[in-house]
């Protein structure tokens, strides 16, 4: 009897196009567990292969928990000085790119708004390169991320002014602005390449391709404050980001100060992109792929989209980095090329799927 009642109730409910919302904490737990596994694997895998247990022993000992006896100095150094900063950097950069992607997509109301695609990364890179070539040291080790943040901020503001959501042109306008900004920063970068000396040239090449091989505790420390400040700010904007999905006018109707939200979002995403770019140069498409997959898993609500993107982005880049290091040892494939290879086709697929599904 009960079963009949339930099934008849089901037929009343229109189930076509129904959304499912899995329980957020469960997915977050799974993501975090996978991330821990990937981090340990990232430290264990390399020319000097280590057992996961050894990795955990050495890290624990360095943190003052227990003792790591029976490991060579080389093994300890590989774990603590080389690989751990490297995987943590990959995690931080991947997380930053995915969070900024999710935030920019909410701001522009467009799921194609990846920081690389719309030109924010290019602007931030220009800031970093300017700092290097001009030898700026105003803020000490924070000069490069600071300049990346400032340039990223200006660029995001400019893109926003030129391709405001809700205006005519929509996606096309946004992508064209991205192309134009990338072209302009590209030629300025080209000029810097032209006047740079050999060591600067190396840095510039590394920036424009995207790479994690500058990882050290010092570089991590330089980027961390920007990342933390930006991510905390973005996470606190989860509710306003949901409201922005109604469009700016309607967001105002339900009581959101849209101007303030917009400014906060631009600053917060520039902080996060600035951190990522200063530490690893331009690594594309993480900000596009990760939020998209998370939305498919749990829906567009930013309360879960943002933290899951933060963890998912870290996971993606740590795994991609393991791939980049082991594909052709001992040399490593620049990770930017690696993510581009996956992300480029994904971007095209998104673009064409949108074209066929909806014309707006």
């Amino acid at each position: 009897m009960t079963a009949t009642g339930v099934s008849s109730a089901r037929t009343v409910e229109d189930t076509e196009g129904t959304v499912r919302r899995p329980y957020g904490p469960v997915i977050l737990g799974v993501f975090l567990a996978l991330l821990v596994v990937a981090l340990v694997a990232g430290v264990a895998i390399g020319p000097l292969r280590l057992a996961p247990g050894a990795v955990l022993d050495i890290i624990a000992a360095k943190l003052g928990v227990g003792e790591a006896t029976g490991y060579t100095a080389a093994e300890v150094s590989v774990v603590w000085d080389i690989r751990l900063p490297r995987v943590l950097l990959a995690a931080l950069v991947g997380s930053a790119l995915a969070v900024s992607g999710a935030a920019l997509q909410g701001l522009f109301g467009n799921s194609l708004a990846d920081p690389g695609v719309i030109g924010v990364t290019a602007g931030a890179s220009l800031g970093a390169i300017t700092a290097i070539v001009l030898g700026l040291t105003v803020l000490g080790s924070w000069t490069v991320p600071g300049m990346a943040f400032i340039f990223g901020l200006i660029t995001t503001g400019l893109i926003y002014a030129l391709a405001r959501p809700g205006r005519k042109g929509g996606t096309v306008q946004l992508l064209l602005v991205g192309i134009a900004i990338t072209a302009v920063t590209g030629s300025v970068n080209g000029f810097f390449t032209y006047i740079a000396d050999t060591t600067e040239l190396e840095s510039i090449t590394y920036w424009s391709m995207g790479s994690l091989n500058r990882a050290s505790w010092t570089t991590l420390a330089a980027g961390l404050p920007f990342y933390v400040a930006g991510v905390v700010a973005v996470l606190s904007l989860a509710k306003p980001l949901d409201v922005l999905a109604l469009g700016e006018r309607q967001a105002h109707h339900v009581g959101r100060n849209v101007r303030r939200t917009r400014i906060l979002l631009i600053v917060a995403s520039a902080l996060v992109v600035g951190a990522a770019v200063a530490l690893a140069g331009s690594i594309g498409f993480v900000g596009l792929v990760v939020p998209h997959i998370v939305r498919l898993l749990i829906g567009p609500g930013h309360r879960w989209l943002l933290p899951l993107s933060a963890v998912g982005g870290a996971l993606m880049l740590v795994v991609a980095d393991i791939g980049a290091r082991t594909l052709n040892p001992p040399s490593e494939v620049p990770i930017g090329l690696f993510t581009g290879l996956v992300g480029g086709p994904f971007f095209l697929w998104l673009l064409f799927r949108r074209r066929t599904e909806m014309r707006a």
Partner: protein
């Protein structure tokens, strides 16, 4: 009784176009007022000025005696809700999630909020589709979702811009019946509408605009005369009595 919403000497100039010319309008609580007029008469502009979206070139819009654009967004959202004509939602939110956003500015009260959202969905006949992905809705279903969202804001002033435009016959009546219920509960309801018969059936007061000015203002039977409609809309009509509703009925003729 002091008016809830007042426009005083409202002028709006967009480029070289004088869209609103010295418009004065007072609307009161417990009344359903419709704004009618041909395309380009200035209805939507007046609506945008009343809702606080548009800054008039001169003149004032006062909501409960205070300049509408001087309110903070959150305060304003507790006083007036707006159903705009375009309701594009980004990303695959569910119908229910969109309606829940209307509770943003209210002090959180989970049980009450859930009840209001459920009632609003039911009033718009969207309860059965509450878990649907808004990206998969038809134009009319999207419009009803937006109407439910407007209701869930539970404000004393409700502004509806062509709420029936995308709707089928039944849902046009459903939406306006509910607007009239809000009026009965004491709300000040302002509706921009094209369908003169719906305006005649549901309004306490009809305000007709032409060329950016109010040309007639009063009960439907006074405003909707064949002569006036013919002149303002440049379309010959006959006006008879509605067979059951006791209001005028407008029929176009060749």
């Amino acid at each position: 009784m002091t008016p809830v919403l007042q426009a005083e000497g409202l002028n709006v100039v967009l480029g070289t176009n004088h869209v609103l010319k010295n418009v004065d309008l007072d609307v009161h609580a417990g009344r359903l007022t419709t704004l009618i007029g041909p395309n380009g008469a200035g209805k939507s502009t007046l609506f945008a000025a009343l809702s606080g979206d548009l800054e008039p070139s001169s003149g004032h819009v006062l909501l409960q005696g205070r300049e509408v654009r001087s309110y903070r967004p959150k305060q304003l959202a507790l006083l007036r809700s707006v159903l705009p004509q375009d309701h594009l939602v980004r990303f695959s939110y569910s119908v229910e999630e969109i309606v829940q956003l209307a509770r943003l500015s209210h002090a959180p009260d989970p049980d009450r909020d859930a009840q209001i959202v459920a009632d609003s969905l039911a009033a718009a006949e969207m309860a059965g589709m509450r878990r649907r992905d808004v990206q998969t809705l038809s134009g009319g279903e999207m419009a009803r979702t937006a109407f439910a969202r407007t209701l869930a804001q539970t404000t004393p002033v409700v502004l509806l811009d062509e709420p029936t435009a995308a709707l089928d016959l039944r849902h046009q009546e459903v939406v306006l019946r509910h607007a009239r219920r809000l009026r009965d509960e004491g709300a000040c309801v302002v509706v921009v509408i094209h369908d003169l018969n719906l305006a005649a059936a549901y309004s306490d007061r009809v305000v007709m605009l032409q060329h950016g000015a109010i040309v007639a203002d009063g009960p439907a039977e006074q405003v909707l005369t064949a002569e006036r409609i013919g002149a303002v809309y440049r379309q010959r009509v006959l006006v008879t009595d509605h067979p059951t509703r006791g209001c005028p009925m407008v029929v176009t003729v060749d």
